[in-house]
Amino acid sequence: MSTTPATAVPRVVYRRPELLTERSTHYCPGCGHGVVHRLVAEVLGELGLGPRTIAVAPVGCAVFAYDYLALDFVEAPHGRAPAVATGIRRVRPDAFVLTYQGDGDLAAIGTAEIVHAAARGERITAVFVNNGIYGMTGGQMAPTTLLGQRTTSSPAGREAASAGYPLHITEMLALLPGVAYAARGSLVDPAWIGRTKAFLKRACEAQLEGTGFAIVEVLASCPVGWAMTPRDSLAFLRERMMAEFPPGLLIDRGRSAVSDRPED
């Protein structure tokens, strides 16, 4: 690169991605959804997929994703995004199909739909935001809530004896031959955010390669649901969530080796 003269245009290191609309989000301060939206907008933008993407919005705090991402959107009933996406997928072979779901949406009420979309190997890229809680409805226990974690529906902390164990649904899905790609990212710090973006990119590529179903679970914080400051929620994310749900690549059936390094 040539040396820049003093009057040159400064190089843009980072800018708000084009696929984000101008609207301010309704998310609470520090909410992970905002970061995931941004990553999705960046990845789709970089791959040039915006104009042919049909996205499916969940029921959960991200129900308004269509207000923030400049994409065609269909709103699915709670948990049914993978079925809705299957319908889209089948009649629109050329579209890029993206689902966005929370942990209650995907891992509780929508268990059957996600398992079977994955088993069928639908060419769908699923973004799964695991914040270990039902954010939208006021902080109740989710299937991914940690043992001992207090929520409005586990006021004494989640007990295995009555409420069972945190569900590792992405690991379950990774068993299925229809799943081309499965990974778990985290929003705990810039490095993991970068890695998560790389996972998302690879999950989009898997769809483009036609190798099957792709899912990226993103460990995200819900400061309000966890009743913490955003800063404290990052500590909880690192020490507790990431201990229970180790992030990293789970499977990449499309490629022998996967590029798992942080993006930069």
């Binding site: 049909i54 709103e75 009649v91 079977h116």
Partner: protein, 395 residues
């Protein structure tokens, strides 16, 4: 009879083939008796035609796949029976709220619960009134022969797309399982424009298909639009058929398979000196309320015949508004009324209605409204109950 090219077809298969010939793009389903052949026909034929067939993991999966496909502007069919249809209530409400065209065939079976697989018409209230939450209505078409079912499939797609609404086709186990000769006349309705459909926001602002309107004002405005649409449908899309009503003094109201039984009963009853006619709603919603009211103004009594404990009965009573006796004859659980059973019910009705010619109409109507504790009072102890149920011994 002129020589016609007729083919023996099973109802379930004829409905499926009619959808294919109506350029149905995608079918999503899940097996259930007595509609399995519809599903299986699609499993074989849709791939042959290069179209979409998906066996969903459940009826919830199927109807939500339909939601996704319909959101792209595709022509979509779904089918099931009672238990599976019940599971679709939430998504039907979403389809109505999101204004998406999907045709749903319900081949009704005996209920409630697992019930039986015998023919039934006990999903009338579900289809016409309260399946899912929220204020919405779904056009409901009720064929009474296999040929009519084929025609109504095309009509259903038309209505669905013209009004952006899910549409029910209500058949029963007999219509699904029986074979009849049908002419190979199929109709492929032209497609409506779908400027609301998603497909990727290339060169245009993004589109969103949704039912959420968090601001009450916005949701109320949305509901106003929906209600205006429903009024339009109610005004313009009522379908019914009358048989031998011109000189009738009793009217049987029946749809689908019950109407066929009633038709035979009308013929036999006339031979025996009674003078019934048949009023057959083809759209159950919008119900031909005005048309039935008009017919009711010319007869002395109405007999509702259903394969249920009395569901359409409510709409008939709403149309007749107490101006003349409404009797009911129904069988449930897979049992089907017989022509003789209907004739008996007609005779019981006949025995109880006063001859019309002795009083001017208004007075007769007024008289009929006087509480009559015997059978026809709507205000007696059994006010809510079908006015006449078949005596047990008859079954």
């Amino acid at each position: 009879m002129t020589k016609r090219r007729r083919v023996l077809m099973k109802g379930n298969e004829a409905i499926a083939e009619a959808a294919i010939r109506a350029s149905c793009d995608a079918y999503f389903g899940y097996p259930i008796t007595p509609q399995a052949e519809l599903f299986e026909w699609m499993a074989r034929r849709m791939p042959e035609e290069g179209r979409v067939f998906v066996q969903a993991e459940s009826e919830l999966g199927a109807i939500n796949m339909a939601l996704g496909a319909a959101a792209t502007g595709a022509r979509v069919l779904v089918s099931s029976s009672g238990p599976g249809i019940s599971l679709m209530g939430e998504a039907m409400s979403y389809l109505a709220g999101s204004e998406l065209p999907v045709v749903v065939v319900d081949v009704m079976r005996g209920g409630p619960g697992l019930g039986s697989i015998g023919p039934s018409q006990s999903d009338y209230l579900l289809a016409t009134k309260g399946h899912g939450h929220g204020d919405y209505r779904v056009p409901v078409l009720a064929p009474s022969s296999i040929a009519e079912a084929m025609e109504l499939v095309a009509t259903a797609f038309e209505l669905a797309e013209r009004y952006r609404t899910p549409v029910f086709i209500l058949a029963d186990g007999i219509l699904g399982q029986a074979m009849e000769p049908v002419e190979q006349r199929y109709r492929d309705p032209p497609r409506s424009e779908a400027p609301w459909a998603v497909g990727g926001a290339a060169g245009r602002p993004p589109r969103v298909v949704r039912s959420l309107h968090l601001e009450p004002e916005a949701l109320e405005a949305h509901n106003e639009r929906l209600q205006a649409k429903y009024r339009e449908i109610a005004g313009g899309e009522v379908r019914w058929a009358g048989e031998r009503l011109d000189d009738a003094d009793l009217a049987i109201v029946a749809y689908g398979t019950a109407a066929r039984v009633a038709r035979t009963a009308v013929a036999r009853a006339r031979a025996e000196g009674l003078r019934p006619g048949l009023f057959r709603p083809i759209t159950l919603w919008p119900f031909p309320e005005r048309e039935l009211a008009e017919v009711a103004s010319r007869v002395r009594g109405v007999l509702v015949v259903e394969l249920s404990a009395g569901q359409m009965l409510e709409d008939v009573r709403l149309a007749v508004e107490g101006r003349l006796p409404v009797a009911f004859h129904g069988r449930t659980g897979g049992m089907v009324p017989t022509p003789d059973g209907v004739i008996d019910a007609l005779r019981r009705l006949e025995a109880r209605v006063r001859p019309a010619w002795t009083l001017p109409l208004v007075e007769a109507a007024a008289l009929d409204r006087r509480p009559d504790p015997d059978t026809f009072s709507l205000f007696g102890d059994d006010a809510w109950r079908p006015l006449e149920t078949t005596p047990r011994g008859e079954r």
